[in-house]
Every structure is written in C-alpha cells, then in structure tokens.
Symmetry: C2
C-alpha cells in the first residue's frame, strides 16, 4: 500500500488553506507595534515606548472541558473569547495591559471552517482588548483527539511599568474587598458541572435559568479590563477567581498574616450554581472551592479609598474586608 | 449521589502537589530578569537592557503525534526538550535569542509524576538555551484525553534588535545555501511514520538503524542556537525545516523572484527516513515534502562569505545555492 501524508490523516493542503483564511481575521487585531504578517517563523512585536522599566507579564491558559459543552452544543465562536478574556484577567492581576496573544488549537482532523470560527472568537476578544493575535499553531493529531474533540489553549504577553506592578504586598487588615460579577461558570468547574447535569439536554429551556442550559453554561468569561483599568492606581491587589475558586485564588495575592473575610449573601449567586448544587447535592463549601459563585474578580483597596473606587468602578460591589489571619497566619478566606 | 470535584475527575489537591514539585525544577531556569516565582497570576520578566529598539519575537508549537510514540515507548523526558528546541529554532529564524517560555500540558487524569518528568524535559532544554520557564498550565480534562494520551504545547518569547532582524529580504541569486544536520524526524511527520511503521515494535533493535525503532524516532529535536549564534551577523536568512519539509519552509524566507536549488546527495539521508520510505513505498517527492530528510535548518549567506560561515559553523554543509525563480517568480525549492 502506498502512503501519502494526507492518507495518514494529516492534510498539508487543508492546513495551507486554513492559514490563508486566518490571515485576514488576525490582521484585524494588529496594533502599530506588530511587524509581521503570520507566515514567518515568529510573530514580531516592538516593545512599546514610553516605559521607564517595562516588565513583560505572561500567562498561559486553556478552556478546560467547557470545550466539551461547546462541541456538544455546536457553538464554537465563544470559547476563543473565553480564553482571551481569561488570560487578559490573569495578567491584569499583576497590573499589566495586554500586548499580544498566541493560540494553540489541536484537533484529530483539521476542519478549516471550525478553526476559522475558533480563531474568529479569539480575534473578537483580542481586538476588544487591544491585544494583537500574532501567532498560532493548528495541530492535526489523529489518534489523540477523537471525533469532534479538540483543545484550545493560548498565551498572552502584556506589559506593566515596574513601579506599577500589582502584587498585593501592601494589603493590610482593614482594607476593603470588592467583587465584580461573573457571567456564570467562566471557564472553571466544567468537569463537575457536566457530570452533575449530564442528563439535562443542553438545548432544554430551564425555567430556573431563564434560558437553555447550553446558553447558561457557555456564557462568555467576563473581561474585567475595561471596568478596572481606570481604577488600577487605586488598587492594592486583584485576584481572578479561576480554578480553585475563592480559597484557591484570593490567598495568592495576600501577604502572610492577612486573611479575607467575605459576607456570603452580599452578592447574588447566579441560578446556574444553585442548579448544579441542587442536582449534585454538592456541599456549599465545595461549591465555593470549585466555582466563582457569581464573583469573577476580587479587588482590594484601602478602606479610605473605597468611595473613590466605587465612583470609578460602579459595577464593583463591596463583599468583605481584609482581617488578621489569626494564629496560624497563613493567608486564607473566611466566610461569614 | 453526592459529587465532589475530585469525584468528577479533577483533583485540586493533586494539582497543588504538582505545583510544589514543579517550583524547584523551573527555578533552575530563571535568569536575572525573572521577577516572580510561579504561583501568582502571571510570570514577570523585565525587558532586558542594552537594546536600542527591542523587538519581541514569539512562537507557539506543539510536539504533534511524536507524543504517541513517547507514550507507547514510556519515555517522557525528551518531548519537552523537543518542544523547547523547536521553538528556539523558530525564533532564531528571525534572528532572535530566547527570553522566556510558557508550557501547556493537558491530560485526562493528572499524574503528578508524569507532569514532573515532562516539565523536567522542558527545564533541561530551557536552561541549556538560557531561556526562563516562567509559566505553565496543567489542565486535567477527563473526557477529552483518554488513557495515557496527553498534549504538550509551548510558547517562546525572544528578543532581537530591530536592526538585526533576519527576514531574508536581502537574499539574491548566487547566495550560498547551507544545511545543518537533523537528528532524525525532529517533531514532524510522525503521523505518517507511525502509520507506516505500526507493525514494528518500538523496542525492537533494527539493524538498518543501529538502534531500536523507539530510540530512532524519539531522537531529540536539535537546537541550532549554539551552532548558529556566532554566525548570525553573516546570515541573510534561516529556515527551520518543520511541517511541510523543504518546500513548505524554505520559501517562507525567500524574496519573490528567487528560488533555492539543492543538490540531493550533498548530505547523507539518515536511515530512519529510508526505512519509512521503503516500508511505506512513499514517493521521494512526498518524503521531502513531509520530512526534513536529514537537514534540520537551512542557512543562507552571500557566496563570498561562505568560507567565513564555515569557519564559524564547521558543522554546516553546503547543499545548494539561490537562483532566479524563473518565469512564475514564486519562491520555491528546486532539487537537482
């Protein structure tokens, strides 16, 4: 038998056609610092001027098994936005603004139209946050990904002035803790959500949710950059509530000896979380360890600047305060 | 039935233990510009000083289905090196030197020991090329990856002085073309190789190869930075022979109106390629379109500087020259 590369499941021509389609899409995201089209061996981006000591802040993320829900529901234009927004939020926690992004898409069989829709999602979110999509890899991996399965990951590079890095070091007992609403699960907790809700069809309208289950689960991960950018100079710390929920993320920005005390009930918990909790009989504490429970980003500032913060970020909601960590001293989250 | 996150296939405690093990490994790669340990929301890296106009050069890649061979052969310490070296070579084609790297590892079930070996491979190659491993995402995705299947991708960020960017623009007919030997398949063509060689056990010693099939296939992707760094000022263009082989990669750095004429036979083709070709009855032209056939990197310089290049890069081998592209004018590769 005679083999060709295409016969072994990898189609170089399809890959070439895909690249051509993507070129026009990614070009919409370019900023003046971008020096290349895609196609050369690396994406080129001039370090922006005007910084005394620029620090590059980078983060890599995936979308997790939210991809399985997207595939099952046949909606591929939103997961790219989830991914970019997730990454933008992560570097925002260091005080950084986005510069550029690179994506990785892997499938069992390359479907150019599918890749195009995924990249369109990435480009939409990149453009909205002034982030250039300078590179990407589309890998065709027969034997690893089956059927419609695929993976989508990405890396963001941003920049912050060294003197403006947000690292939580100045956080003190008495500081005010604010929360910004999430749009739903964002990109975390899907393995549990999928297991618990496996028997509910994604296209079924769920009265408790006011929408279909698929629509509720695929709500796009919020990007907090537009809301928080004007308030960055006021802030002492930001924590993006991703995998690990409250306890897994807030302590990452707390200095030793401090803890955060949150008033449960000071914000509304979206119905999608209640649905998961009820259907799965999940402990309340486990819910707060896995999910964001309606708070996608936590912002901390001095109590005396709280009014100023609320004036600049009217969507922020006061949900607690910084306290002393007590005897053990390890940063943690205490729920009232 | 009561659900916990661990019961749904995602183990946050295992993820935490893994992070702790990785911390010590990645720290060995840190350069003075690195400003954070892992754990915060982004990796921080000071833009190096001493550049007039620094340009960031980035690239994202995966390892492709070489991962399937690694998993089947039970060898997980080399694919990380493949990935980093691949990325280093890509940005080297723009004249850039590495700054930092971020990885993405996805598995069906998180096995901390497995992740540790993979990251050790990444760190080994990063350290060798003075590239800091500043971030990584380890995603546990039950339902997408089955059994021992996993995926590994990474993004590199490097820097080049704007005036020293290597873009092939000055390449002219008459220029000399050099090749640097590959160590084997590097990270391309594995879907075809696996299909053709499916019946040969990986642990079988193959006399034609002088080693086991597994050892031959898993030879680590060469890194050409140490060899080529001293010669960068002499070069007009570099092409890394990855997916698409000669025709897919060399034209990426050629200006319109030029072509590269290569003398087949001017370099030895490693036996692994002959084995694949014979077993699969693959056309010679298809072989050169899919595989690197023994040349991992192509370097182009002015003919009058060829001796100087050979003095600085003794392992380079003259394999052809730049010619006029002829009537159609599209950059291409012509084999004698």
């Amino acid at each position: 038998m005679k083999h060709t590369y295409a016969g072994a499941g990898v189609n170089i021509n399809a890959a070439d056609r895909t690249k051509a389609r993507l070129k026009d899409i990614v070009r919409t995201t370019f900023r003046p610092e971008v020096m290349t089209d895609i196609g050369h061996f690396g994406g080129m981006f001039r370090v922006p001027e005007g910084f005394k000591q620029p620090v590059l802040v980078s983060s890599v993320d995936g979308v997790g098994t939210k991809l399985k829900v997207a595939a099952a529901f046949g909606r591929f234009d939103t997961v790219g936005q989830d991914l970019v927004n997730h990454c933008v939020n992560d570097i925002l926690c260091c005080g950084a603004l986005p510069l550029f992004f690179l994506d990785y898409i892997a499938m069992g069989r390359l479907v150019p139209e599918r890749v195009e829709v995924l990249v369109q999602g990435l480009a939409t979110a990149c453009k909205a946050q002034n982030c250039a999509l300078v590179g990407g890899e589309t890998a065709e991996m027969p034997g690893i990904y089956r059927g419609d399965d695929f993976d989508l990951a990405g890396t963001i590079i941003g920049v912050v002035e060294q003197g403006s890095i947000l690292d939580g070091r100045s956080i003190l007992p008495g500081d005010a803790v604010f929360g910004l609403s999430s749009s739903g699960l964002h990109t975390n907790g899907f393995s549990l959500a999928r297991k618990v809700l496996a028997r509910v069809p994604l296209d079924r309208h769920v009265p408790q949710l006011g929408t279909t289950l698929g629509d509720a689960l695929l709500q796009i991960h919020c990007c907090y950059l537009p809301a928080l950018k004007p308030a960055l100079p006021l802030l002492k710390g930001l924590a993006h509530l991703t995998g690990g929920g409250f306890e897994g993320n807030i302590p990452r920005v707390l200095p030793d000896g401090t803890a955060v005390r949150l008033q449960r009930g000071s914000w509304p918990v979206p119905q999608i979380f209640r649905l998961i909790q009820e259907k799965g009989k999940v402990d309340e504490s486990e819910m707060y360890r896995v999910f964001n429970m309606g708070i996608g980003m936590v912002a901390i500032c001095a109590a005396k600047r709280a009014d100023e913060l609320l004036a600049k970020v009217p969507e922020a909601r006061r949900i607690g305060e910084v306290v002393q960590a007590g005897e053990k001293g390890k940063p943690r989250v205490i729920f009232d």
